[in-house]
């Protein structure tokens, strides 16, 4: 069977939506229908709620949804990374149990990777999982865990073998967050939000079938999750805007945006809000300041060339060509764009850049850009780590020597850890 054309896909999804979408549906009720049809995640395999279509058609499908205001499946934040990892490495049981509820929005997820003692060096995790009887018992502490306080489930990286070298003693689990041994405490961030948490895990239990992969395969699987994260799967460049349409489904979607999606509401700001720059410069008259014009132009050059670099990567992928270096630069470019945009927002805002909240420009949105952008070069792997990866994996430069590469993890020097705050 040959691959369908863009026009085929457009016609088919549009016809299906016209015949099926109705704003009087309940949110989950509609999404269940959507999941059954495969149009909720057309790039998923046919047997797992998708249509097996190439990723490039997702944009076309989205356009058809937008045309008639049809609500999509839930696909914001960490849940997207969970789904991608489950598709890549999960068992049929994992797929059966989780994918549908991720898409309908019934379950919220978080990523328990970073710890107080191990961030960039994520493989140095010391949270331990031990098989006792017919359960895994988990003890340890995680931190910076976005959305943990809202989450039903977690992707967990934990150590199962302390005698193996660092990377080889890790395993990957799907942890039920709604149990007595798991305690998530929100941490207040420099931008005033509290979307990440410290998570204390004390004798939490995991059924053996909720391990993903085998003992020792945790690092490999976590790398898949991170790859999806760095490619922007959970990045939320545009925030799901509450709809002004009327109908039960929109009311329920707006409620979801206000609750489970709340931790992500500053995410567009941390990317720099390049989209606001020109209008702000015009509104303030700073567009006529030759220095501002130059600096603004520099941001636009950077963000456009970054966008076109991503398009080049996607076009090559769609043609089935081997991935070129341009596909791995997005995370670092995103940091450059965000920082440059924040600088120019400050130039444009002038004295008002000293104000925040309701006294700040655009009801505080600009101030929020200025104090949120620093997250971009840290979350999901710092800029320095991205440069290491580009140099070592893409440019094949020598890997940093690790004096403990073949030593048991228990002998590796590490941080003494205390509670944050």
């Amino acid at each position: 069977m040959s691959e369908p054309t863009e026009a085929d896909v457009r016609a088919e999804v549009s016809a299906w939506l016209k015949a099926n979408f109705n704003p009087d549906y309940g949110l989950v009720e509609w999404r269940l229908k959507l999941v059954e049809s495969g149009w909720g995640a057309p790039h998923y395999p046919k047997e797992w709620y998708g249509r097996g279509l190439p990723v490039k058609f997702n944009a076309v499908v989205d356009e058809e949804f937008a045309k008639i205001g049809a609500v999509t499946v839930c696909r914001a934040g960490i849940r997207t990374l969970a789904a991608a990892t489950i598709i890549d490495h999960g068992t049929d049981l994992h797929k059966e149990k989780f994918l549908r509820r991720i898409l309908t929005g019934e379950d919220t997820w978080c990523q328990l990777f970073s710890e107080p003692g191990s961030g960039s060096d994520m493989a140095a995790a010391t949270t331990r999982a031990e098989l006792k009887g017919n359960k895994w018992i988990v003890n340890g502490q995680k931190v910076w865990t976005t959305s943990a306080h809202k989450a039903d489930w977690a992707l967990l990286l934990a150590r199962t073998d302390w005698d193996q070298p660092k990377h080889k003693g890790l395993s990957y689990f799907l942890l039920n967050m709604r149990q007595p041994g798991v305690n998530a405490q929100p941490l207040k961030q420099m931008n005033g939000h509290a979307s990440f948490n410290q998570v204390f895990i004390t004798d939490a239990e995991i059924e053996p079938e909720l391990q993903m992969g085998k003992n020792g395969e945790g690092w490999k699987i976590a790398t898949t999750t991170l790859m999806h994260e760095r490619r922007g799967a959970g990045a939320l460049r545009t925030w799901a805007m509450p709809s002004t349409r009327t109908g039960r489904i929109y009311r329920e979607e707006n409620a979801e945006i206000a609750t489970t999606m709340e931790p992500y509401k500053w995410y567009p700001q941390r990317a720099g809000r390049v989209d606001l720059l020109l209008d702000r410069a015009k509104a303030t008259g700073k567009i006529n300041d030759p220095v501002v014009r130059q600096e603004l132009a520099k941001v636009l050059v950077l963000s456009k060339s970054a966008e076109w670099t991503a398009m080049r990567a996607r076009a090559a992928q769609a043609l089935g060509r081997p991935q070129g270096p341009e596909g791995s630069l997005g995370k670092l470019l995103g940091s450059h764009v965000a920082r440059a945009a924040a600088r120019v927002h400050t130039m444009i805002d002038g004295a008002n850049a000293m104000l925040t909240g309701s006294d700040g420009t655009l009801d505080g949105v600009i101030a929020e850009v200025l104090v949120s952008v620093p997250a971009t070069s840290i979350a999901g792997g710092t800029d320095e780590i991205q440069r290491n990866i580009i140099a070592e994996r893409i440019l094949q430069m020598p890997k940093e020597a690790d004096p403990f590469a073949n030593k048991p993890f228990r002998d590796v020097p590490r941080n003494t850890v205390s509670k944050v705050g």
Binding site: L278, A281, K282, I287, P290, R293, Q294, L296, A297, K298, L300, V301, L302, K304, S305, A306, W308, T309, M311, R312, R314, A315, A316, A318, L319, R321, P325, E326, L329, L332, L333, H336, E384, Q386, R387, N388, I390, A391, E392, I394, L395, M397, P398, E400, A401
Partner: protein, 373 residues
């Protein structure tokens, strides 16, 4: 918009890369750059005949191959990669494009086939001693078809067989009263002086016109639009040429870092060297994206083409120069020598940064488009 090259285009690039690396090694570049002409007519003719380079974007009706700006961009990127010494930018990108945009049907039939065949070399003389890249800088007068004044920074101006000249009716200014003319290189009253160029691989000349009899190209007083369009295409082509040079510097710097030993290991093992290479890759790949996008936008006649062309030039100019600075730093002392090749590209980066307008100039053009939108 086309975001990837077709298989045919990739094949074309592959052929060019092999040919140019065989025929234009740095020893050849160094030999030619020491000559006053800057190229060798016979060698260039032969190479051109094998590949049909001068014909690429000229329509078939005028003896060309009728390809677009994307293919022309590929040629330039590959030439920029090896600093090929040939009157290509002058004859094909500047002169032929100007003739295509401004000439009458009859003039195109008369002038273009010889350029497409590589028999005639040509150039476009537009900038004057004031160094302005747009029509506002033109002071040279055309009284009827008699030219008086001075052109400068004319690429291959001292060797071109045919010179396309931008001049204005006395008493006009800005975009008004502009006309294009053609003049033979050996026309009476024309004095041509080669300039000492920092980048010896791109030759420039100063041309003094005293009552030089010229032939009008296209319509009298109507040259502003075809000239502007020619500049847009030239800027896009230059951006692609520069992207090729930048990519070459990035690759050779990586090779050097992998090979050079200090403190018992290749310098590529040091993190500051790795981060520099990662930054160079980011700069060069985004510059390529901008240059490729601009070439595709040209072929699509995109509504914001002039802004996109300027964006590409601004982006590539900074990337090329920054890469050249890193390329020397990575090599240490040997990078500062005349015998090592890096400075040849450094100088091309520097002069290309300024040629056809620097990054500030192009960012301003871009803003004029987008701030008005």
């Amino acid at each position: 918009m086309q975001f990837s090259f077709t298989n045919e285009q990739e094949d074309f690039r592959g052929i060019l890369r092999r040919f140019f690396s065989a025929r234009s090694p740095s020893s050849e570049v160094r030999k030619l750059m020491e000559t006053e002409a800057g190229f060798d007519r016979e060698t260039w003719k032969k190479l051109n005949q094998e590949l049909g380079l001068t014909a690429v974007h000229i329509p078939e009706a005028y003896g060309g191959q009728g390809f677009g700006c994307v293919e022309l961009g590929i040629v330039l990127e590959e030439m920029g990669r090896v600093l090929l010494c040939a009157p290509y930018f002058s004859s094909v990108v500047l002169a032929a494009t100007a003739i295509l945009n401004a000439g009458t049907e009859e003039q195109k039939r008369k002038l273009l086939p010889a350029i497409a065949a590589g028999d005639t070399t040509a150039t476009l003389a537009f900038t004057e001693d004031n160094g302005l890249w747009d029509a506002s800088g033109v002071a040279m007068t055309a009284t009827g078809t008699k030219l008086n004044g001075t052109k400068s920074f004319v690429v291959d101006g001292h060797t071109a067989d045919l010179i396309v000249v931008l001049a204005r009716q006395p008493g006009t200014s800005g975009d008004k009263g502009l006309s294009l003319f053609t003049v033979r290189g050996d026309a009476p009253g024309l004095k041509r002086t080669p300039l000492k160029t920092m980048d010896a691989t791109r030759k420039l000349a100063r041309l003094e016109f005293k009552d030089v009899e010229a032939e009008l190209l296209g319509e009298a007083g109507q040259a502003a639009a075809p000239f502007a369009k020619t500049m847009t295409q030239a800027v896009v082509c230059l951006a692609n040429e520069m992207a090729g040079g930048a990519d070459h510097l990035r690759e050779t710097s990586l090779e050097y870092a992998q090979m050079r030993m200090q403190f018992g290991r290749p310098i590529a093992a040091f993190q500051s060297m790795k981060h520099k290479q990662a930054d160079m890759l980011v700069d060069v790949e985004t510059a390529k994206s901008a240059a490729y996008y601009a070439a595709a936008a040209f072929d699509d006649n995109a509504a914001d083409l002039t802004a996109v062309a300027s964006l590409a030039k601004a982006c590539v100019a900074e990337a090329y120069l920054q890469t050249a600075v890193h390329a020397i730093q990575v090599r240490g002392g040997i990078g500062f020598t005349w015998d090592e090749d890096t400075h040849l590209w450094f100088k091309r980066a520097k002069s290309s940064e300024v040629f056809l307008g620097d990054a500030n100039y192009h960012r301003e053009l871009m803003m004029q488009h987008w701030a008005a939108a």
